[in-house]
């Protein structure tokens, strides 16, 4: 009797050890496959840019010329445009997305939060080209005729809001990008806020803290890492957005102080010129822009991580 139960237990333990080991192997392999893919992508970008890198070296990063005829390429205005438009988008979408998520996760009654959540997530489904066309025909005119002049009238002394007003500008692109990344921030933040340990929320309320204060002092800090992660993913999306941006940013490879001036992003150039480029140097320069995006993304992510470690480390409890 004893022997057979033991045998049963032995078999059970052995089987679960095997399945445990296999499981760990599987998840490890999956992760490895993913890492290999990303590194392969990086390698391909590096290989493809090699001709251009050899020709221009680091001057690619601080030259402002983009001339397919003479074969002189420099990415500085595009780096500027990408960073400024994406950061503008992140700031706007971050505020709207996180506050909106707070409302959907906690303050709103279910009959409001469910449909509203669906609607916001639907924004992620709108095709890029549709965003671009809507931006060009609806958003840009509104900004050009109403919003931009208003901002210039009241804040025109700041260089950011000075200068001639075109409909297609860094500002328009920033707002359009913000709209495109709101669902990422909002949907993930909502889930993360709602997942904060209920005891924390209930305890806070029980102490007489108002709902808003609970959100501000308890829930949002508790969800901080998840919200931060959502913002990083959203920022990535803004960096890599190709078609919508190119329709409203004006596509001018020049740096201007004003947000109302036309500009250019790394991804827009690639989207605009890749399918028509024929010379090796031209293609290589375009691929190098893709590589640059990869690198810019790496730098921003690394900086964000450093920020997180210094700010969040003390209170990262789950």
């Amino acid at each position: 009797m004893n022997a057979s139960i033991q045998a049963l237990e032995q078999r059970h333990v052995r089987r679960s050890l095997v399945s445990d080991r296999a499981f760990v192997l599987f998840i490890y392999l999956a992760t490895l496959l993913f890492v290999a893919t990303v590194l392969g992508l990086f390698a391909m970008l590096l290989l493809g840019s090699w001709t251009s890198i050899r020709e221009f070296g680091f001057s690619f990063l601080w030259t402002s010329e983009w001339n397919p005829i003479t074969g002189r390429f420099g990415a500085l205005p595009m780096i500027y445009g990408t960073v400024v438009s994406s950061l503008t988008a992140l700031v706007l979408a971050g505020i709207v997305g996180v506050f909106g998520a707070a409302y959907l996760a906690d303050f709103a009654p279910r009959f409001i939060s469910v449909p509203l959540s669906f609607l916001i997530e639907l924004l992620a489904a709108v095709p890029s080209v549709v965003f671009g066309l809507w931006g060009l025909f609806v958003l840009a005119p509104v900004l050009r005729t109403v919003v931009d002049p208003f901002l210039q009238a009241h804040f025109g002394m700041v260089p950011l809001f000075s200068g001639p007003i075109f409909g297609s500008s860094l500002f328009t692109a920033g707002i359009l990008l913000a709209i495109m990344i709101i669902p990422t921030i909002s949907a993930i933040s909502r889930d993360v806020i709602a997942a904060v340990i209920p005891e924390h929320r209930e305890g806070s309320l029980a102490l007489g803290v108002t709902r808003w204060e609970t959100m501000w002092h308890v829930l949002l800090p508790g969800a901080r890492s998840g919200i931060f992660g959502a913002c990083i993913l959203a920022l990535g999306r803004a960096f890599g957005e190709t078609i919508a941006t190119t329709m409203v940013i004006g596509n001018k490879p020049a740096i201007a102080a004003s947000l109302f001036a036309p500009s250019y992003t790394l991804a827009s150039v690639v989207a605009n010129e890749f399918t028509e480029a024929t010379t090796d140097m031209y293609l290589s320069a375009l691929i190098e822009l893709g590589l640059l995006l990869f690198v810019v993304s790496m730098i921003v992510n690394a900086a964000a991580r450093v920020l997180t470690w210094t700010l969040l480390r003390p209170s990262k409890g789950r």
Partner: protein, 352 residues
């Protein structure tokens, strides 16, 4: 609780199955697949014409389908060189470097003809049409003429008081054959442009106040939204959207608008175009439109798969002759007869 859970799963499962069954049903109801599917890739400009031409061809020759995708002229040449498609199409013929990379003799023929109109946005109505000389247009795009009431423009349009509005120059931001033809024109009429900027599918635009729009939609949209804007768009676009266009003075001194007739007149002045000498901008003639150009198709002269090559040759031979009859219905300009003949002759050079 668990039975509720199962019933939800069952609902999901049955929805998925229903969709799959529906899809299968649609494929069963689909028309019988043709025997051979040829693939072509390249120029986006020629896509609408090709889609109609190949559709008509398939109706006459039910054993052949042509799958043409507009991945861009550059993409078309790349795929042609990589031999992933049966033929390529490009707004600019392959240059020496590309021909070398192809590694084998290539036959290139003109398959479509297009023109570009200059459109503008002014708050005043100009009944007689806004007139510009070629030099004035070049100077506008160079940025040397910055306002609409500049004397250079005003003297051409004395019946109208032009507003004191800055000119916003709109161009294509995406590399395109349309830009190539336009810059080819500007280089021909202005030595300063030729020196400073040059000809290409993508160039560095010198005007201070300039903006790039993606595609014809982008340029037209930009022009429509911006008072004082000027831009170049394909003829099909102008016709389809009934846009205002500039009356441009051609090299013979006449002010013309971009129409099917004027573009064809320009093409007819140079019947013996070749892939090396293919420019038809700024041609002489009373009715010639100065900004016009061809789209080219390319095939290998010594193909490995002779069966597919013969089918491709037949399709393209039809396209450059009988197929041209349908060009007008999609706002394209039919190839002049003499050009059709030389294209057909070039196709016959393929060794089968």
């Amino acid at each position: 609780m668990s039975s509720k859970f199962f019933s939800r799963r069952t609902i999901l499962g049955s929805i998925v199955s229903a969709v799959l069954v529906g899809l299968l049903g649609m494929t069963v109801a689909a028309p019988a697949l043709a025997d051979t599917q040829l693939t072509g890739a390249g120029s986006t400009f020629v896509y609408p014409f090709f889609s109609k031409a190949f559709y008509e061809y398939s109706r006459k020759h039910t054993d052949v389908n042509v799958n043409y995708q507009s991945i861009g002229s550059g993409g078309g040449i790349q795929q042609f060189i990589a031999r992933t498609v049966d033929f390529g199409a490009s707004d600019v013929p392959m240059n020496a470097d590309e021909l070398k990379r192809a590694g084998a003799p290539v036959v290139q023929i003109p398959v479509a003809l297009g023109g570009e109109a200059i459109t503008y946005n002014l708050p005043v109505e100009i009944k007689a049409g806004l007139k510009l000389t070629r030099e004035a247009l070049a100077d506008i795009y160079l940025g040397k003429i910055a306002k609409w009431n500049d004397p250079e423009i005003a003297k051409l349009n004395s019946q109208t008081t032009l507003p004191d509005l800055p000119i916003v120059v709109v161009h294509r931001s995406d590399g395109s054959g349309t830009t190539f033809i336009f810059t080819d024109f500007l280089s021909t009429v202005s030595s300063e442009w030729k020196e400073k900027v040059g000809t290409g599918k993508s160039v560095q635009w010198p005007a201070q106040s300039s903006v790039g729009g993606k595609g014809n939609e982008g340029v037209a949209g930009q022009v429509r939204q911006t008072p004082g804007a000027i831009g170049y768009v394909e003829l099909a676009y102008v016709l389809e959207n009934h846009m205002e266009q500039v009356l441009l003075q051609n090299v013979s001194g006449k002010y013309v608008a971009c129409t099917e007739a004027t573009v064809q007149a320009a093409a007819a002045t140079k019947p013996d175009i070749t892939p090396r000498d293919f420019s038809i901008v700024d041609r002489k003639g009373n009715d010639t439109w100065p900004i016009a150009g061809y789209t080219w198709a390319m095939l290998y002269a010594d193909p490995t798969d002779k069966v597919r090559a013969k089918l491709t040759q037949d399709v393209l031979a039809w396209t450059v002759t009988e197929g041209q009859a349908i060009a007008s219905s999609v706002d394209y300009v039919p190839l002049p007869r003499n050009v059709q003949a030389s294209a057909k002759k070039a196709l016959a050079q393929i060794h089968l």
